[in-house]
């Protein structure tokens, strides 16, 4: 039977360091997937992932709450925000060019480049690019829901907004993604239905 987070933390505090390693493994993909989709690439995502766990290790003796997954996602969120603030350009992203486009729209989307050499399929790249077109807050809500599999009350706590705001951001995100990905899921459904 899989141990719960609370059991693993209790084991760790009772003297078994391997228990914390199991938590690292348990949330490896959810946490890293969220970080990678929010940031610029594998290297930065590795750094942030590492920093999340360093902070967990530093503060584990103080930790008493019940939602370990929500905790580590919040830590990751804070680190991502801090790094984004430090990278903020001096020109306003809302400033308009002569052709009416905003500077923000001219910036390349975050996330891995299309031909990143990681062996991804066209579908994966297409979906990743579609998600990258979302505004940052909506993108984060979407990724926390889909990658980190957080419930909306935890997403709201992570972003420090009301649950209504988190839900609204998800609705906007889905509304933007729907036309971009409609063809993909229709093709997938047709592929499933067509006998081989």
């Amino acid at each position: 039977m899989t141990e719960t987070d609370r059991e693993l933390l209790a084991r760790y505090k009772q003297g078994d360091p391997a228990a914390l390693g199991l938590l690292v493994d348990k949330y490896r993909r959810q946490l890293f997937g969220y970080i990678l989709s929010m940031t610029g690439g594998q290297d930065e995502a590795d750094e942030i992932f590492q920093e999340v766990w360093y902070r967990v290790i530093r503060k584990i003796s103080l930790y008493r709450a019940k939602n370990f997954r929500g905790w580590i996602m919040r830590i990751a969120h804070n680190i991502i925000i801090d790094r984004a603030r430090r990278r903020r350009p001096t020109v306003s992203l809302d400033a308009e060019r002569e052709d009416g486009q905003s500077m923000g729209e001219m910036l390349p989307a975050d996330g891995p480049a299309p031909s990143d050499g990681l062996g991804r399929t066209d579908l994966e790249r297409h979906i990743a690019r579609a998600v990258d077109t979302l505004p940052p807050e909506q993108k984060e809500v979407f990724l926390l829901r889909v990658r980190a599999e957080l419930p909306f009350r935890e997403i709201a706590a992570t972003q420090r907004v009301s649950i209504n705001t988190a839900l609204a951001r998800m609705q906007y995100a889905l509304a933007k993604l729907r036309p971009l990905l409609k063809q993909d899921y229709e093709e997938l459904e047709n592929h499933v239905r067509t006998p081989v």
Binding site: I57, R64, A65
Partner: protein, 195 residues
């Protein structure tokens, strides 16, 4: 029940966050509303499509090795901090109270300062700066305590608690007022007497 509320519930239902009664109401509505039914189906499809097809991601083996090497023996974990757990928390509380009390004295409203700005400033202090070093989910409990303290400070400033949260209510900078803070400025505050 209107469709806007139902579309919210569709999202909450997908994460199991509806009560049984709310879920029943949603199902009853979906049985009669094709627009909401389509929204529910498309949302589920999109989430499923993205969940299964966003590029799989793993940290590098070197990163994992560094993290594992950093995990101390639990007996040594307490030494990671300079002090045992409880004095750190006590000091953190004291620091937060000092910050909140200081901000209250600094931010006492003059007739020209809007209540929403004061409240936002106090909450920003409580929510952001004061909690920055308390980076644990225990902060959720501590945040609740600090919000309670902030509530008391606001009460002293003449704010009254609302029973419902107005989603459209935001600070002058446009940020929504954080969850848990449901205050409305009481009308006709007495003029402050200069001491």
């Amino acid at each position: 029940m209107n469709c806007d509320e139902m579309k919210r519930r569709i999202l909450l239902d997908s994460t199991g966050e509806l009560s049984p009664r709310e879920s029943e109401e949603l199902q009853a509505h979906l049985a009669t509303c094709s627009d909401c039914r389509q929204t529910a189906e498309e949302s589920a499809r999109l989430v499923s499509l993205a969940g299964e097809n966003l590029p799989a991601a793993d940290p590098s083996p070197a990163t994992l090795a560094k993290i594992r090497a950093r995990i101390p023996e639990p007996a040594a974990a307490g030494n990671v901090l300079s002090f045992p757990g409880w004095p750190v928390r006590t000091l953190a509380y004291a620091a937060v109270l000092a910050i909140v009390a200081g901000s209250w004295f600094m931010l006492r409203p003059s007739p020209r300062v809007s209540g929403a700005v004061n409240m936002a400033a106090i909450m920003a202090m409580v929510s952001e700066d004061a909690l920055e070093e308390i980076d644990t989910l225990e902060a959720a409990d501590e945040e609740a305590r600090l919000r309670s303290l902030a509530d008391q400070l606001l009460m002293m400033e003449g704010f009254a608690e609302e029973d419902t949260f107005d989603e459209d209510w935001s600070t002058p900078s446009g940020e929504p007022v954080p969850t848990g803070l449901r205050w409305r400025k009481m009308p006709a505050l007495p003029e402050r007497t200069r001491v």
